[in-house]
Symmetry: C2
Subunit: 117 residues, 2 copies
């Protein structure tokens, strides 16, 4: 089942993952897809991305740290590798006692497609 996501450099919703899974295992249920995605997420194999859209998206590219560029109109997502490490930009005085383990940077804008339309 993991193969469904593998090699895809796109960011699918759970339903899209389900649709693809069905192509290979016609009997597979949504519950199983959610279970498996959940596992993959806790294993760190896959990343959950919550955009402004309703549905979460799943990012198979969990191994290379990267950020996301989201189109505010159509919701398209691109991976992006900025320079700089925003974690370093957060001084202790701004941590309020939190144990900060992760940063997630989301750039918002309008993609070329939507800008043209």
């Amino acid at each position: 089942m993991a193969e469904v996501l593998d090699g895809e450099h796109v960011h699918l919703t759970a339903d899209e993952v389900h649709a693809r899974a069905v192509a290979k295992l016609p009997e597979i249920s949504r519950a199983t897809v959610y279970n498996t995605l959940g596992e993959l997420v806790t294993l760190g194999e896959v990343l959950e991305v919550s955009t402004d859209q309703r549905a979460k998206r799943y990012d198979p590219n969990a191994h290379r740290p990267h950020h996301h560029l989201v189109c505010a109109r159509c919701g398209a997502i691109r991976d992006v590798h900025p320079s700089g490490n925003p974690l370093a930009d957060l001084p202790d005085s701004e941590r309020f006692g939190f144990t900060v383990s992760d940063v997630e940077v989301t750039y918002r804008g309008v993609c070329p497609n939507c800008a043209a339309a």
Copy 2:
């Protein structure tokens, strides 16, 4: 109705906003709260924050640019003002033709409360 959010430096869900609104205008409906929140968002008076939780949260502090520190356990949110400007860290070559207008940085970690528990 805007007053409900005003002065609150917390990040309420729409339902919490509704609950507070009811305290002042007992007849107010959820639909109205969503309408008003939507307007405030497009006016730029209020910020929508999507965490990993299911419900979006609304941030009344839209005027000072800031980022968020989210507790992965309890979902608590704190405003945070890091140094540095991550927009500048995104070279043109990583913009893929997008018109990038905004960055949103979310630090994830565990808050002191949850760490203690």
